[in-house]
Structures are given as structure tokens and as C-alpha cells.
Symmetry: C2
């Protein structure tokens, strides 16, 4: 089974915790990297989590906090004093620090700013002025730059003098004397080309820099489609301001995917599976409340047909079938639309064709399952007319479901909202209401 | 708006297609990289897609096919003749070729194998013997290796002689004379350390190699937690067999996330939004059919209470509320569980704590919304007893929903199945059946 290693780690740690022996817990923690410690903490119930957190090496505090889901991070930060938080912040890269600062209380942020060197403070401010979900918010300022007119020999001498390069440096950036971005010089070219050649001869001019205000989703698509490890970020004046690295892009992709999955199901993406009961209950209550309104709306529709149901109780027995099939069909389309919109595959150019296609798919499945439902119902209630009513209602509701599943995500996006919100509640309301109305309405017309 | 560039590209291309002018279409295609061409093709309806495909530069065919969703790829491959397919295959890396070969008809695979050089054929076979969803299936065999006892000076001379390095080479791998993996030598260390030092002195011994049979999900977690760009893959004898690079890992993460999103909604992950109507209808029919069985089951339960409904029609009006609230609550938990299981956060060590927590959350929300429903119902139907019945049924159904949402994904995983299958159909069946049974059952006991 996958994940068995992670599981057995949690198990061993909990066993050690339960037995009250701290030495093995500490030993186990010391063997993990910050991201693994973060995963472990996120998987522990709150009491154990706080105990283990006390035992994490303070030098790792910053990195561990950074890798935690927001909810868990906020919980732990609330227990730390300012001195601990400042110490944790000092060990972070500028781009990580910028993320981290967002979680800190105002007063601590000021302390952290004061503790930084002037140069670091300026760099942090350079990142903080950008929206967090843009290339500027994702970037780090640790670029290594070279001039176009020097030889590779000189570049190599410079690098040896400079020492260690920042993580994920697969290329140096070539800039002119004004700091304007000209291209990139991959490390492997420095190593494989003739040392006498100049940077201009060897550098890659085709690799486009990212604009500082590019959305992080577009950044991720650019990394994916061009298989990048790092990319330069430039301001509107084409001057180099920083670089984005693939590790941060992976986080964006992961977060985006989780967001879609959770918001389709009506959960807040920041919800921590091991959050305290009160917080989890509050966060989920919202969608349940919205759904309750929508369920009452559906009940109102059923209520319109009380007299009909009184005479033909079979309608009440069968009506959940029509509604439920519509819900499933609509959610299938919503999921495909959410993926298609995230990948940038859907636009004004093809919605017409898509709608025609989905209506046809609904027609085919409506005819197929409508006939099945009609057959089973005719036999169960010994009434071909009732069979005809439910078959027709199912067919029509699947067509409505196709329209709703396709158009609601598009409309949400047009309004600047998240298309995944169409999932479960909104689209299901439409298919429930239409399902009950069609079935009971047709029943009233045809059976009475 | 995000994606607007991609959208406008599709729009422009379709306009050019509609006008029948091929020159601008070709010009636009030539300015895109293979992954962008693939995205464009995937976003076009079938007729236009085939037209555009004819115009793609044959030298890019292989790369474009590789970036397409499986469904679209298979459609295009069916139209190509063997010579074209062999030509497309020849331009691919070994790891990409291994993926590609899976999509080819048997006869073409044999042709492709014959067209390869002996060395390439041996390398392809080395990748093909591994399961596609393991490190071995993901890896490429284009490793660049060095011996531990040479100096960096010598390594640099060797690299200059060798020329261009494979894409995503951020490190060379250090192996002994038997090919056993010893560690990695990062390119930036070659550039920044004293050229007289030996590989042994400079190399990183701590970086663990991946086992060839490690699951691709674990590989992705390792890349994420250690922020890797490439990692060595070793066989059970610790001999280096290949390397995995971050671009392939990004694809795994993306595919995994899409899989969860779509399978929660009951759609096949390979389904192409622009698939031909007949294929799309067939693929979605399965879940609709399963859901129909489950809906009939729920209807059977309602049917048990026909006599009760006859006397108190309000029960029929209100019963969808109880079922729908249970469905939403259960799906919220399923989404959190699917994410938690994918991240390896859930195991035997904490399911007990999780279940207790979710039952408490359900109790709180059940009491809250149970009271609201009871109040509204008492007022609407002027019957406090009916209000009490629906409030209690809602509370109990939310508790059942919590159990189902938590335990069904765990059970599926224990059975070696995909936990995301719990979404929509399975869990909703449970909450529908329980919702109707509890509400109508309590109604029969209390109201009659």
C-alpha cells in the first residue's frame, strides 16, 4: 500500500508519545526534514501536535511552519511568543518569509522587520508589495546575474569566488548595465561550452521572462508547458526583479487542485482534517445552511403538488429517482468543466459546440435510462402511464442537468467567482427543483 | 481574467479555420511549443481538431501526442499510418517513448522497436519492464555518471568533451566501478568548489536514491518534501538504473489531482471534454446506471412507508431535506478524506481520533440545523410534533453521514480501491436511504 511508510512513522511516534518517553520522539523528529515534520504534525490530533511541536528543533521552526496547512500553522503561531516567532522568521528565504508574514500578528511582523538587515528588509518589501497570487508574490530575489560581454571563463571565476548558489539555480540571468533582462545562461552550458566564448554567444535569448503581475495560475501553466526549473521575473520596464522556482510552482499546482476538489464538495480549502471540533463545525456549517435553504426550496416545489401526491402516493416514492439522476449527471459535467477551465481549454470559442455536445449526450443517456426507469416502474406499480411519466421526466431533467452543469460554472467564472462553487449545492438545487417539478407536474397533467 | 491568452488563441485559430485560410493557422501553430499545441487541440471540437492536426509540423508530432489527454491522443493515433507513427516515436526521449508505446497498436509497436538503434531498444525495454506507475516507469535512462576518485577539473574536461547535457540535469550521479550509486554531484558545486578537489570530497552522500519499484505517488511526495529537480533511481542491488525529473513529477501531481476531482464526481479521468458524443455518453452511462440502482433502492425504502405518506403527505414534502443535508455533509468529509489519504496523513494511528472528531462535528451541526429545520417546519405545517420528527431525523442522518463519509473511503482503500469512488454515488446512497428511513420511520412511530 502507498503511504505505509508515513503511516508507520505516525504510529511509532504516537506509541512513543503514549508511553511518555520523550527521547525516542526527539530522535525520530531529528531524522525528518522540515516538510516531513510538518506532515506529521498535520496528521496528529491537537493535544499530541502541541506536545510534538515543543520538541521540534527551534532552528527548523520557520521551515516547518511554512509547510503546514494554514489552519494548523495559525494554531501553533498563537502559542509562540514574539521572540520565538522572530527567531523562526530569521531562518527563512525572502519569498518564504513573505508568505509567513501574512500569518503573523501585526505586532510580530513589526518585530521581524526590525530584526532584519537593511538589505533583507528592502528585499522583503520588494516581494510584499506584489499580490501573493502573482509571479511577484511567488518570486524570490536571490537571482545571480552576469553581464553579456564577459567570457565563460570569467563567469566560472566569479562563481568560484562567490561560492554556493541559491537552491534551484539551474541558470544565471543575463542583464545589461541597467538591470534589463536579456536572457538566461544555463549552468550546463557554462560547463559544456568553450570557456573562451562570451555569454552573449552562449546564452538563451528565447526564454521569455515572466511579468511580475502574471497570475500564479498562468505561471504554473508556463512552467508546465515549457518544463522549467526556474524563470526570471521582470517589471514593466523589463528590469529583472526576481525569479520563480519550480518548488513553489509545485505548491501552486497542488493547492489549486486541492482547492477545486474541496470547493466542489463545499469545504473550505484551508480546513485541516484534524482541526479542533468547534472550528471544523463552524466552517462546514455555512454550506450546510445554504443547502438547507435550497432543500426547503425543493420542498416548497413538492408542496405545490400535495393534492396530487395524496391521490397517487407512488409519485412520492419515485420522485427521489428523478432528482438524484439529475444531480449525478450535472456533477459529472461540473467536474469536467472545472478541470477544463483550470487548464484554460474552455472559452467563448467553443462553448457553443460544448453545449450542443452535452445536450446530445444527455439526450442519449436520457433515452437509455428513461426507458429502463419506465420499464421497471411499469412493472413495479403495474402502470405503464406512470412509467411513461417518470421516463419522460428523467429525460427532461437530464437535459436540464446538462445545461446547468455547463452554464453555472461558466456564469460563476464570468462573475469572477470560483467555478468549482457550482459543485454539489448550486447545481444540485437546480436538478432537485426541476426533477420534482417535472415529475410531479407531468404526473398531475397525465395521471389525474 | 486568467487564461484569457489561451482563450484568445483558440478564438483566433477558430476564426482562421472558419474563414478557410490555412496560412494564418499554420503561422499561429508554428509559434507554439508542443505542449501549447496539445492544449489547443484538446480544446477544439473533433472536426476542427483533425484539420489542425494535419497542419502540425511532423517533427513535433511525438511531443504533441504525448501532451494530449489519452482520449484525444487515441483518436488522432487511429488516423495516422504506421510510417507517421514510427517517425513521431523516433523523436521522443526513452521515458516519453515508454508512455507513448502504451497507446500504440501492437503492430506499430513492433515497427517502432525495429526502427530504434540497439542501444535505444535496450534502454526502452529497461523502462518498459517496470510498472508505469512506479519510479521505474517514470524514469529516463539518460543519466550522466562520474567516478568518486577523479577531480572536479577532470569532470569539467569530461563534460566539455561530452557536450550538451540532458534536460533537467541539475546533478551528475556518482557510481563505483560496478555501477552502484554512491551520491550526487550538483552542477553548482562543480562550478563553485575548488577544481582540484575530488568528487568524493564534494558530492552529496545524504541524498537518497529512489527504489525502482517505489510508487509514483511516493516519488511525488519525496520530490515535494525535499524540493528535488532530479533523483537517481536504483535497483534492489543499489545499482543506478535511471533518474526521475521534476517535469514528470509535476505531471503525476496534476494527473493525481484530476483523477480525484473527476472520480469523486463519477467521471472517467481520461474523458475528454470534447470527446465525440457517442463515447462521452457511453462513459458517463456507467455511473448513471449505478446511481439508478441506488436510487431505486432509496425508492424501495420510501415505498415501505406508503401507508404513512398517504395519511401525512407533509412527510413526502419534507423528506428530500433530510436526505440532501446528509448527502452534503458526507461529501464534505469524503473530500477531506480523499485529500488526507493522498497526502498520507491518515492511517491506523489516527482514524479513531478522526472518527470521534467528525461525530462531534456532526452532533454540533445536527443540533444547530436540526433546531432550525424543526422551527421552520413547525411554523410551515403548524405541527410541533412534525418539527420534532424532522429535527431528530436530520440530527441522526448527519451522524450517519459522518460515519459513512469517513469509513467508506477508508474501506475502499483497504480493499485496494480508489477512495475517491466513495464520492457522490456510494456515500449519497447511504445518506439517502438512511435519511428516508429515519424520517419516515420516526414519522410512522410518532405521528400515527
Amino acid at each position: 500500500m502507498a503511504n505505509s511508510e508515513a503511516e508507520s512513522r505516525v504510529l511509532r511516534l504516537r506509541a512513543a508519545l503514549d508511553s511518555g518517553r520523550w527521547a525516542p520522539v526527539k530522535r525520530q523528529l531529528a531524522s525528518l526534514n522540515p516538510s516531513e515534520v510538518a506532515k506529521l504534525l498535520a496528521a496528529l490530533p491537537e493535544r499530541e501536535r502541541n506536545l510534538v511541536w515543543e520538541m521540534v528543533d527551534p532552528a527548523d521552526d520557520g521551515q516547518v511552519l511554512l509547510h503546514l496547512p494554514e489552519d494548523v500553522r495559525d494554531g501553533l503561531i498563537r502559542q509562540m511568543d514574539t521572540a520565538e516567532l522572530v527567531a523562526a522568521a530569521e531562518d527563512l528565504d525572502i519569498d518564504d518569509l513573505a508568505d509567513f508574514v501574512d500569518s503573523l500578528p501585526e505586532t510580530v511582523t513589526r518585530e521581524v522587520m526590525r530584526a532584519l538587515s537593511d538589505a533583507d528588509r528592502a528585499r522583503l518589501e520588494a516581494v510584499l508589495i506584489h499580490e501573493p497570487d502573482t509571479a511577484g508574490g511567488l518570486m524570490n530575489t536571490d537571482t545571480v546575474t552576469v553581464r553579456p560581454d564577459v567570457s565563460l571563463e570569467v563567469v566560472m571565476r566569479y562563481l568560484r569566488m562567490r561560492g554556493e548558489l541559491p537552491a534551484h539555480t539551474d541558470a544565471l540571468f543575463v542583464v545589461d548595465r541597467y538591470g534589463v533582462y536579456l536572457g538566461r545562461l544555463a549552468l550546463d552550458r557554462i560547463l559544456t561550452r568553450d570557456p573562451a566564448s562570451t555569454v552573449t554567444e552562449v546564452m538563451d535569448r528565447d526564454s521569455e521572462a515572466l511579468a511580475v503581475d502574471m497570475s500564479e495560475r498562468d505561471v504554473a501553466q508556463e512552467f508546465e508547458s515549457s518544463d522549467l526549473v526556474s524563470a526570471a521575473v521582470v517589471g514593466s520596464d523589463r528590469k529583472l526583479v526576481g525569479r520563480v522556482t519550480v518548488d513553489d510552482v509545485v505548491d501552486v499546482i497542488r493547492a489549486d487542485a486541492e482547492h477545486n476538489l474541496l470547493s466542489m464538495a463545499g469545504v473550505d480549502e484551508d480546513e485541516d482534517l484534524f482541526a479542533p471540533v468547534r472550528r471544523a463545525a463552524r466552517r462546514r456549517a455555512l454550506w450546510l445552511g445554504i443547502n438547507l435553504c435550497s432543500a426547503f426550496l425543493a420542498a416548497r416545489v413538492v408542496g405545490l403538488f400535495e393534492a396530487t401526491i395524496q391521490q397517487v402516493v407512488a409519485l412520492a416514492v419515485l420522485m427521489p429517482i428523478v432528482a438524484s439522476m439529475g444531480g449525478i449527471a450535472a456533477n459529472q459535467i461540473v467536474a469536467l468543466m472545472v478541470r477544463g477551465l483550470a487548464l484554460g481549454q474552455i472559452g467563448a470559442g467553443n462553448t457553443g459546440a460544448l453545449l450542443r455536445k452535452e445536450m446530445l449526450v444527455a439526450l442519449i443517456n436520457g433515452l437509455l435510462w428513461g426507458l429502463v426507469v419506465a420499464g421497471v416502474t411499469s412493472w413495479w406499480f403495474d402502470s405503464p402511464t406512470l412509467g411513461f411519466v417518470i421516463g419522460l421526466a428523467l429525460l427532461l431533467n437530464l437535459m436540464f442537468a446538462a445545461m446547468a452543469g455547463l452554464l453555472v460554472p461558466l456564469m460563476l467564472r464570468r462573475l469572477g467567482l470560483d467555478p468549482a462553487l457550482a459543485g454539489s449545492v448550486i447545481v444540485t438545487t437546480i436538478t432537485d427543483v426541476m426533477g420534482f417539478f417535472l415529475f410531479l407536474g407531468l404526473g398531475t397533467l397525465i395521471l389525474l
